[in-house]
């Protein structure tokens, strides 16, 4: 006699299927950002994230998304750092997925990029990008930001109206 399937096991199976089908992938659209332990910019960094990295969206909260990386790390990214115009994990069959990502890649790789800037700079030799690059190097680390907010009694550390 065949062993009957337990209802709980079937329910778990379908729940897992539903979770997988409804899971949403988001893609890092900026040069780099970090996965944070809490939904705050000064929260502890868990891992660095690079442009194009795919993340599984788990939840959202006031502009922040809780995500899981391919390596399994779970944390928070701000929605302004990721592209949410992605498809469900099983939104398409394999061939469609390949075609869609091919056109996305083609568009992402093209456009105004480093090659166009170099061409523009070659035409406008009088323009200097030295200070543009120098200003990009002025960075405020998360720990400094937290210190700055706390010391200045700003935002959630803030004073009375």
């Amino acid at each position: 006699m065949r062993k009957p399937i337990r209802p709980a096991a079937v329910a778990v199976f379908w729940a897992a299927c539903a979770v997988l089908l409804l899971a949403e992938t988001v893609v890092v659209k900026i040069q780099s950002t970090v996965l944070r332990k809490e939904p705050k910019f000064y929260a502890q960094t868990l891992v660095n994230l690079r442009s194009g990295e795919k993340l599984e969206k788990l939840a959202s909260q006031q502009g922040w998304l809780q995500v899981r990386t391919a390596a399994g790390a779970v944390g928070w990214v701000h929605e302004s750092a990721v592209d949410t115009k992605s498809f469900n994990l099983l939104a398409m069959d394999k061939s469609m997925k390949t075609q869609a990502s091919a056109s996305e890649v083609a568009l992402a790789a093209k456009g105004f990029n480093k090659q166009v800037e170099e061409s523009y700079r070659a035409k406008h030799g009088n323009l200097s990008f030295v200070w543009v690059d120098r200003m990009l190097n002025i960075k405020v680390p998360a720990a400094e930001l937290e210190k700055f907010l706390k010391a200045g009694r700003l935002a959630e550390f803030g004073g009375a109206r």
Binding site: W14, K29, N88, L90, F148
Partner: protein, 297 residues
Amino acid sequence: MNTPRFRIPILAVGFALLAASACETLQKGVGAIDAQSAKVQSVAKVAKQIRSTFADISEEEEYYIGRAVAANILSRYDVYNNEGLNLYLNAVGAAVAAYSDRPETYAGYHVLVLDTDEVNALAAPSGFIFLTRGLLKRCKDEDTLADILAHEIGHVCAKHGLQSIRKSRLTDAFKLLGEQAAQKYGPQELAQLTGVFENVLGDIAEKLIERGYDRKYEYEADELAAEFAARMRYDGGGLLDFLGTMAKDSTGSADKGWFKTHPGPQDRIGRVKGQVKTFMREKVRTDRFRAAFKGLK
């Protein structure tokens, strides 16, 4: 044994879940399917379908546009190179940006001081922000400075620079971008695209540096500044103070800098006054402001 009786309803629930998911998938996938079929006809058509307005400019493209606009601004002004002041301004900028509607841009927000007595503040796409020494001298505390930076960050959040690009330029660019799928441009395509890039920069520079953004964008940036400042618990009254100072400023010339590129200060005060929220200007903030501004020429 009654287990099999549960199997059908459970399976039915499962199929219903799958069906619901498939419907959602189908809805979300319609755009992709449309694009795919168009791709068969022409890659260019796909590009046009996917990208048609300023909002479709990618973060990376906006960054390269912003870099070149910044280089053009820096070709007109010298830099006031004061490391301590730069660090402080960038801390205030980073704090305001973190509580704005767009905290993260491709390479973040960065603030630099331009060495001129002229009063001006300029925000290039993607977060390259410039404040002149003349403007800084008219700020009396951190709250006022933060409100001004919030206004500039508001321009970046609302992509006012990108909205200054003529629609025809975008049509040209997107058409060109869709024509070939090569990873690198050939010489002819690169020359064409560089030409479009120059025109795009010309459109932004004309508005940002020469004529100023449309008035509605300035009012919108004021509204955003009031909102961001309130989230930070900075006193929004700083913006009103600055505008009041500018209204009384007799050194400004109507055809130069801030006066030329912004609507009248009294007009702006009248519009934004009801939206600013007042908070106590903490002494600790004014103290660190004074320390950072010490020695500003």
